[in-house]
Assembly symmetry: C2
Homo-oligomer: 374 residues x 2
């Protein structure tokens, strides 16, 4: 037996057109070791947008098709096409994570039918998802789809920062921008685990938000004395490691310059090559895809690199990863709670006005796709 599922698909054609549509696909019954899940909620994370929209021109969004079979198109600059070579002409399913209810299961997994699960693995912007249990967390019976939707990407990223800190011999962390769902998780983790954390936010409102959930060091980058206050917070925590989701602009370099300024304060002898303190920054997102500008006042002991959850997880001991999963499930409603500002159907996700809104990636704004709506 098969069942029909709508899957949100993204296709880039050789002529430079991005096309989003809802593909009807036949999903077979689950076999041995498989679950069939009705997707009930899937967040639009910044990490989904690359596959979903690519480098499409937001001024060229154009709605086509019918209410029942909506299509969205947009133009992509010819310059960007070589980087997309491997996906040209391919209809790509989208959506890293989500939550839903197991409606059918293989003969060995019948006890899971009716359970609600959180899932990771792609193709979550869909009515149905065939999946294996190792990519799921089974939720408590009273868990809602909203509560289960974002239990992989942000929670494991925040926990992954702490593991990277330990593995690389640092003792405290700088995070920017820190008022996001992920940033709030990191505040709670560091508070519980006694880890120094410097939170860089972009407004007084966000300072108040993070102080309200127990953050100690919150620095507002819009304030005149931002750099001095950043130095003070770095001095107090001893942070020599930063995670930056913005990437573009000067923030990454500014953090390294602040770390170096603090290290120089403590040196008795002048060294023309700067401090001997190793300063590491990771760019883990690309909220600003513009150029990273490094005004290098931070000596020679520094490193900036990319940080990607899927790569980081491979470097972590599997036993530690298992503990991370258990902690996420246990603290689903506290440490790892997410908040959504909009709930949209699969068809709504193809409306130009919604695309413009969710691709903005504003801190505090978070869209949830609810396939069972509409």
């Amino acid at each position: 037996m098969t069942q029909t599922s709508r899957e949100l698909r993204s296709t880039v054609s050789e002529d430079g057109t991005l096309r989003l549509n809802l593909e009807r696909v036949d999903i077979p019954d689950p076999g041995q070791g498989q679950l069939l899940v009705r997707v009930e909620a899937a967040p639009i994370n910044p990490s989904d947008l690359g596959l979903l929209l690519g480098p499409a021109d937001m001024d060229s969004l154009h709605a086509e098709g019918s209410p029942d079979d909506p299509v969205l198109t947009a133009r992509i600059s010819p310059k960007a096409l070589p980087g997309l070579r491997a996906r040209l002409g391919k209809s790509m399913p989208v959506g890293n994570e989500g939550a839903g209810t197991v409606i059918k299961a293989g003969p060995d997994l019948q006890d899971l039918v009716g359970k609600r699960v959180a899932m990771i693995g792609g193709a979550m912007y869909a009515d149905l998802r065939l999946i294996t249990p190792d990519a799921c967390i089974v939720l408590p019976d009273d868990a809602t789809p909203d509560e289960g939707a974002s239990l992989f990407v942000n929670p494991l990223t925040a926990l992954g920062f702490v593991e990277t800190m330990r593995a690389e011999g640092h003792s405290a962390i700088v995070h920017a921008p820190a008022a996001s769902n992920l940033g709030q998780m990191l505040v709670r983790i560091c508070k519980d685990d006694g880890i120094g954390l410097v939170n860089i936010v972009r407004s007084q409102k966000q300072v108040d938000l993070l102080k309200g959930i127990g953050a100690t060091h919150v620095v507002d980058s819009s304030a005149d004395d931002f750099f001095d206050r950043l130095c003070d917070a770095i001095d107090r925590t001893g942070a020599t490691l930063a995670f930056d989701a913005i990437g573009g602009g000067e923030m990454t370099g500014t953090i390294l310059n602040a770390m170096e300024a603090v290290a120089l304060r403590k040196m008795d002898d002048y060294d023309r090559y700067g401090s001997a303190t190793m300063k590491q920054a990771y760019i883990y997102g690309a909220l600003d895809t513009g150029p990273t500008i490094l005004k290098r006042g931070f000596g020679f002991q520094w490193s900036i690199g990319g940080w990607l959850l899927f790569h980081a997880l491979k470097r972590i001991d599997p036993a530690v990863v298992k503990k991370m999963h258990e902690r996420v499930a246990a603290e689903m409603r506290t440490t790892f709670a997410s908040h959504y500002t909009a709930r949209i159907s699969l068809a709504d996700a193809l409306k130009p006005e919604n695309v413009v809104a969710y691709q903005r990636k504003s801190t505090g704004s978070k869209y949830l796709i609810v396939p069972t709506e509409g």
Copy 2:
């Protein structure tokens, strides 16, 4: 007994004035384990300029003093002073390396009197240098001061690149700008050792120069098809590691983008996060102290960091460092030969017109201080 030596000293005062002068200092006779060397040649390397000139304004150079006791002053922006805190008011000797003749020695080192040596350790812009043998290479009897002057910084940096390559699991190197004395050494090392090397130069003349000494892959950054040719050379060598002496501008990012473009060509499946190929660039100089601009089209598997010879040597097995020294001595006139475009006295080094010229750090231009002149 003591002897008088002139030492070129650099002092930054709290009011933001840089002052260079020739300090008369009394040097004691060498004790047990010490050599007294008459300095005969010392190069002005880019790595000397930070201590020598700091961030002084080149438009404010002002000659003072007398022919016998010359003084040079310049202004330093108040903004730059906090970074110089640890050197304010201190008279700093300058000059990383040089060559000279042993004129006196401790009782245990009498056999070295009359020998010519290459030296590392600072304070080389001087008439005399008291030093220990571990900071020296004893040269053949017919070696000239010019031949011995630059046997530490550039040779060990070039050899250090190869050791870093091996330690970090890369198999070929991109170097920019590659026509320098150091670049030419690296060409000869990589040719002899069978290591792939992509040389980035800035003119056709430099292409011809490097091809003339046996380079295989030389790419001219002033050519219209630079990026395509850089990709081709990276593809042929398999280089995933770059050393960049410029630092400012877009070159570091351009190299990483070329490495990523080559890696993407070889991928069958699209990955929204870019290739899984780790791309590493090190900024080892700061020929351009302006901002580093990274146009991040190189996915998430990348790292950029500072690279400093003195830190790198500490990470290398001492037995390997010893072999590096032996190789430098053995190949002094071939692999590690340097060329100088100007020879100046200690007093000449304080003349504004010379300062303006040697701080330009143009590729192919190299100043040698000869304390025995003038």
